[in-house]
């Protein structure tokens, strides 16, 4: 299991920083850019480089970008996991938000959102209140956006939902609903 509670230190994270199309608040150490040791600039943010292979359980308390390979389980319950374009995961993933730009095989559970980018690939079941799949993304599996409301689906579709008094009105936010996930 790999836990990360402290600020990143120049050990262990030996992957080459990936050249990605999205902005990252981390930068390689100037004296040894090839090793890809990275330090957070402002917010806590860690990248697992593309040469890194992790087998086991990965959990932490900060946002994480994976450009390498991970097999097992990834847990970032209150943070964002980004699977970069080079990332290859065979894992169960639990996070606040999950952004997939690489390949994921396994089930994804997010308390806020799962976002599969244009060249992203997911084969597995997704549970999240919001799911976005870009044109060109590959997805195979099931998507459950979870329900806790009482209105009948057809009424919602037609915009005529009325509370019938039999089921409780939904008052909790998506985050509240999923607090126990």
């Amino acid at each position: 299991m790999w836990k990360r509670e402290e600020a990143p230190r120049p050990t262990g994270m030996t992957g080459t920083p990936a050249s990605t199309s999205y902005e990252s608040p981390v930068m390689p150490v100037a004296s040894d850019p090839g090793r890809g040791v990275q330090k957070p600039m402002k917010d806590e943010f860690v990248t697992i480089g593309k040469s890194i292979i992790i087998k086991g359980e990965l959990s932490g308390g900060e946002d994480l970008t994976i450009e390498g390979q991970v097999e097992g389980k990834v847990e970032l319950r209150d943070h964002v996991l980004t699977v970069g374009p080079n990332g290859r995961l065979k894992a169960q993933i639990f996070a606040k938000s999950i952004v997939v730009l690489g390949q994921v095989t396994g089930n994804l559970t997010a308390t806020e959102k799962v976002d599969i980018g244009q060249n992203g690939s997911v084969e597995g079941d997704v549970v999240a209140p919001r799911v976005a799949i870009a044109d060109g993304a590959h997805f195979r599996g099931s998507i459950d956006m979870q329900r806790k409301e009482g209105a009948s689906p057809v009424a919602r579709v037609m915009g005529t939902a009325k509370h019938d008094g039999k089921a409780p009105l939904a008052v909790a936010s998506a985050k509240d609903e999923l607090a126990g996930v």
Partner: protein, 230 residues
């Protein structure tokens, strides 16, 4: 009707989509099977608005792969094991125009699988082209709202195989009943099938007439006991 190889897009009214939504609407925990590619707006529509659990099984991608590998003759066998879900576990199926691309054997296998998967009173949405075309490529059907679809064509290696006659369609789905059949101006036939049985299922009504923008089409129904007539 032409099927351009380059990507194009147009919004078209889909009366059958509204009927399909009505059919799956009253189910509190509907499970939807989408046989097309995972499309963001469709996922959002069914997940956030209809609150279905959505299963995406992109058979178009499988078909394309078989065409490119030259193994299309093995596609029926592939389809027989492609959807290993329990019997009567799905409330609704979005089949789109997949049957236009299948030969007779593959179509028979897939129809059998869909009938097996559907729960009693389950609904199936299928589109059939009524005009032959040898152009290659597929369409994405993107839900704009409850009555409109955006068609987006994209290139592919598989040509449309054949135009199915009404009687062929009814034979293919002989254990389902046709609840709606609408011929659009574009010569695309939209059909909603229902699986007999289930609580609250209405008795079959006499053959209905569906009209869409001046094109009239008869809806008919078949049953295992009494073959349907167009």
């Amino acid at each position: 009707m032409s099927w351009p190889a380059s990507e194009t897009s147009e919004v078209v009214r889909s009366p059958a989509l509204a009927k399909f939504l009505e059919a799956i609407g009253p189910r509190p925990t509907a499970e939807l099977l989408d046989l097309g590619p995972g499309i963001g707006p469709n996922i959002a529509f069914f997940g956030e608005r209809i609150r279905c659990k959505i299963h995406v099984e992109d058979l178009y991608a499988d078909l394309e792969r078989h065409v490119q590998r030259g193994t299309l003759d093995r596609f029926p066998q592939f389809l027989a094991t492609r959807l290993p879900r329990p019997d009567q576990s799905i409330d609704a199926v979005l089949c789109w125009d997949l049957f236009d691309y299948l030969d007779a054997d593959a179509a028979t296998v897939l129809a059998g699988e869909l009938i097996r998967l559907l729960k009693p009173a389950g609904a199936l949405l299928v589109f059939f082209s009524t005009v032959a075309s040898d152009e290659r490529g597929y369409r994405r059907y993107i839900i704009e709202d409850e009555e409109h679809l955006r068609y987006r064509s994209y290139p592919g290696a598989c040509p449309r195989q054949r135009v199915l006659e009404n009687r062929d369609i009814v034979r293919l789905f002989d254990r389902l009943r046709v609840s709606d059949s609408i011929l659009l101006k574009s010569q695309l036939r939209e059909m909603v099938f229902r699986k007999p049985g289930g609580a609250g299922q209405r008795e079959p009504r006499p053959a209905a007439v569906s009209v869409d923008r001046g094109i009239t089409s008869r809806a008919w129904r078949g049953s295992p006991d009494r073959p349907a007539t167009p």
